[in-house]
């Protein structure tokens, strides 16, 4: 039943009503018969943040491609809308048919990062569903979750029935078929969960029990007799065999990304030791240039987009990047279509690429040295030297760019004052390179923005055992940088260290952290990724009420033989490899990129029966 008339009555009283309407181009408005499966795809943040999410767009197109399935979308209503919805008892709805979420067979969330977890709880509640999975029954939708958060699903286990670990293209139809069959057979909830747990890559947390040691660490994680002892991430082995989604939804309102974005490859083999994405999305699988270019041409036809972006974890590493950009810029020359490359390497090659695509507009360039000293860059395996940085920015200045942004992290393991001073020195050298290269008005417009984010160690990385800095340490380090990164051409930006500390505690949390998330939500936490909405005091209180110490999860150095709460989730990368990488880091040894420097023996290819596919 459509809730549109109720929704419409309140739209005049809220900000940005476009968030709650439908009919965007390429959105699918259809119905299925009673036998069919209805899926609501939910992004736990506001519309303009959630809409561009590539994963949900892929699922949406795949699912709606089937006659017996309908997929609709839901986003977190902004605070003003939530208030009127609660006041007028309007349940959370999907956009396409404005149906209540409770009317769907499957409700799927994407867990993109830890600071949107409370929004999942809030959306379940707004939908009129019990927030706790244990309180939901046969009459409720099956609540599933996917996305990078599933590599440590434990903190969300109290709220989610089924986690889907890995790339959705690979297993979504198996899941939907099973749900369809079970629906026809009128199977009860428990049977549904047992049956789904047989699908490789599916994790049903109620089939696993966790025991703890006296010191609070995990003693063992035990699977029920008919559930697999570990869950291995599913991947698309040949990414080039998957067609480029042709009909992305075009938002009416200004979304965080609003452009034609085509994934040129999955995975990254650079091996930065802090980077979770670089570890959990292996191996590297490329699409062909022909596929990328024809995909873009189709998307431009169905969307009318005026900007093209080649997306991946490191698009400058895509082996056909040069040819692809050249072909695109020739094809769309004179049509007011702009090209962009979201991630640049610190090298001349990247400057050559952006020079090609930014013929007129030279807005700004962003580079990520990540750390200030060579020692630390070697430690994290970011294979960039100071010389690389200075040569690259000098080249950029020579080509006419005047605004450079540098990304660094503070709180990396083994960090000393010297490493912090290194951030200051390198930033100042970049300013000096700018002053030496630019002249006249360009010189006075020179701006170097330094962004220093507070590092949170993540599961399934070589740094999963290390202690995160405490809030006090982070704030002292921020103060150190703020006192020294001064000057007419320099500006310093950082994220709130408080939210990094909360993020760090949840990221490496176990099942009990779910209780803290639940209490945080009860205390009113939501939209935690929004600086203005984030409430550190409530989070502290929530952890305390749950009888937990955030620092136990974030600030504790773990033993290598400790059972990690996520040890039953296999990304394909061996824990032994991660340990070895940590040891190599402490010895100052670099690890090469397996695409060029030989196999690093991370285990992903044999474990997932896959390999790097480079064209």
């Amino acid at each position: 039943m459509s809730l549109w008339s109720q929704v419409e009555r309140v739209l005049r009283s809220v900000e940005k009503p476009t968030r709650y309407i439908n009919s965007e181009l390429n959105s699918v408005h259809k119905t299925v018969t009673g036998e069919g499966v209805r899926v609501a795809l939910a992004y736990p943040d506001v519309y303009e943040v959630g809409l561009p999410n590539m994963g949900l767009q892929i699922l949406y197109e795949l699912l709606n491609g089937r006659e017996d399935v309908v997929a609709e979308r839901a986003y977190a209503p902004w605070l003003d809308m939530e208030a009127v919805m609660r006041e007028q008892s309007i349940p959370l709805f999907t956009l396409e048919s404005h149906s209540a979420l409770a009317d769907f067979d499957i409700l799927g969330f994407t867990l993109q990062h830890e600071l949107i977890y409370t929004n999942v709880l809030n959306m379940l509640d707004l939908a009129g569903l019990p927030v706790l999975a244990a309180e939901r029954g046969d009459e409720h939708p099956l609540v599933i979750a996917g996305g990078p958060g599933t590599v440590n699903p434990e903190p969300m286990t109290p709220f989610i029935d089924v986690f889907v670990v890995g790339e959705a293209e690979e297993l979504i139809f198996e899941l939907v078929d099973a749900v369809k069959e079970l629906k026809r057979a009128r199977a009860g909830r428990e049977e549904v969960l047992r049956r789904l747990a047989r699908i490789p890559g599916v994790y049903v947390p109620t089939l696993y029990s966790v025991e703890y040691n006296d010191d609070g660490t995990v003693a063992k994680i035990e699977a029920a007799p008919d559930a697999p002892s570990s869950i291995t991430r599913r991947i698309v082995k040949d990414f080039s065999a998957i067609p480029v989604p042709r009909r992305p939804i075009v938002p009416f309102m200004d979304a965080v990304h609003d452009r034609c974005s085509v994934e040129v490859m999955r995975g990254c083999a650079r091996g930065c030791r802090f980077c979770q994405a670089g570890m959990i999305y292996r191996p590297v699988r490329e699409r062909t240039q022909e596929q990328v270019v024809s995909g873009i041409s189709q998307i431009l036809e169905t969307t009318g987009y005026e900007e093209i972006s080649l997306s991946s974890l490191s698009s400058a590493d895509y082996s056909a990047v040069e040819g692809t950009l050249k072909e695109l810029s020739e094809r769309y020359d004179g049509q007011n279509v702009s090209l962009s490359l979201p991630s640049l390497r610190v090298d001349a090659f990247s400057i050559g690429l952006v020079k090609e695509i930014a013929k007129v507009k030279k807005t700004g360039l962003t580079f990520a040295p990540e750390a200030g000293t060579q020692r630390m860059r070697d430690f994290i395996n970011k294979n960039v030297t100071e010389e690389d940085v200075l040569n690259t920015v000098t080249l950029a200045f020579q080509e006419g760019w005047q605004r450079i942004k540098l990304y660094f992290m503070i709180g990396l393991p083994t960090e000393t004052e010297e490493d912090l001073q290194g951030i200051v020195d390198l930033s100042q050298k970049v300013v000096e390179a700018g002053l030496a290269t630019l002249s006249g008005a360009a010189k006075s417009r020179l701006t170097v923005t330094v962004s220093a984010s507070a590092f949170a160690p993540k599961p399934h990385t070589p740094f999963q055992w290390v202690a995160q800095d405490t809030l006090e340490e982070f704030e002292a380090k921020q103060g150190y940088l703020a006192a020294r990164l001064k000057g007419r051409h320099l500006s310093l930006k950082w994220h709130n260290a408080k939210s990094s500390v909360v993020e760090g505690a949840i990221a490496r949390g176990d099942r009990r952290v779910g209780d803290a998330i639940y209490r945080a939500w009860l205390l009113g936490c939501k939209f935690d990724a929004w600086t203005k909405e984030f409430n550190y005091e409530s989070w502290r209180q929530a952890f305390a009420e749950a009888g937990l110490e955030g620092s136990f999860y974030a600030g504790r150095r773990r033993d290598f033989d400790e059972v990690l709460p996520w040890s039953h989730i296999e990304t394909g990368v061996d824990a032994e490899f991660l340990k070895e990488e940590f040891h190599r880091a402490t010895r100052g040894e670099k690890t090469g990129d397996c695409r060029f420097d030989g196999c690093g023996d991370c285990g992903v290819c044999p474990n997932l029966d896959a390999e790097n596919i480079i064209f």
Partner: protein, 241 residues
């Protein structure tokens, strides 16, 4: 280059698009339709499309206009079909014609606008009519909008009005309101005024507002904006065999 005048409408959920969102939707639709629009110069080239006065968010309309500077002319019927095919549901094109180049912009020549305002109320049409008549007899009206206040000349701003029964306890106000620089008012104004000035009438709830016509003058006979623009005859490619 040719100047294309499009008469379009905005309806359904899309009436909640802001003016900027509408502009982007049209720019992308022109691209999808393969109708090339001239771009402005500079570092940030923009398609040369000009629009009439912004429609308030939440108001539907059957009388919106835009002028696009297109690179090549395609005959009227074809262009309507090409654009209609790619427009999101809720936007529709009714008429199109090419106009001579040197003519004033749409926004600058609109003098009055006709609205239909549908309301839910317990009061009858007759009772409301007499209240509106009382209001109209006041020489000036104080208009409050977004924290600002202004006085308008009543008869110069509310040019004509009527109330019709729409069934189901609903009434429709037909309003002809001044637009442009002088004495312009928003369509909710009469209902707001009645609500404020006559508390004895149970609250009138606005159900929907639709813009139904735009004119370039304020006197009878009213001249519709589409008729005001002088067409040009486009060459042979528009001749149907």
């Amino acid at each position: 280059m040719a100047k294309l005048l499009l008469h379009y409408g905005k309806d359904g959920p899309l009436k909640y698009l802001s003016h900027l969102e509408l502009i982007r939707a049209f720019e992308r639709s022109f691209r999808r339709a393969g109708v090339e629009v001239e771009a402005s110069g500079g570092f940030n080239p923009r398609p040369k499309i000009s629009y009439g006065p912004a429609l308030p968010v939440g108001t539907s309309s059957s009388c919106e206009y835009l002028v696009a500077e297109v690179k090549s002319s395609i005959c009227d019927d074809d262009i309507i079909e090409r654009i209609s095919r790619v427009l999101p549901k809720g936007l529709s094109v009714f008429r199109a014609k090419y106009i001579t180049e040197k003519q004033p912009s749409i926004a600058s020549i609109i003098e009055c606008v006709a609205y239909k305002v549908e309301v839910k109320t317990l009061a009858g049409a007759g009772e409301l009519s007499s209240l509106v008549e009382l209001l109209r007899n006041e020489e000036r009206l104080l208009i409050k909008h977004k924290g600002k206040e202004k006085w308008v000349d009543t008869k110069e701003s509310i040019l004509d009005w009527n109330i019709e029964e729409a069934g189901g306890g609903r009434l429709v106000f037909l309003l002809l309101l001044a637009a442009g620089e002088r004495n312009s008012v928003r369509p909710e104004v009469l209902i707001d005024k009645v609500n404020q000035s006559y508390p004895q009438v149970q609250d009138i709830e606005v159900v929907g507002i639709e813009r139904v016509a735009e004119y370039v003058n304020r006197d009878i006979p009213l001249i519709d904006i589409y008729d005001f623009y002088k067409n040009v005859t486009i060459g042979s490619e528009c001749e149907k065999s």
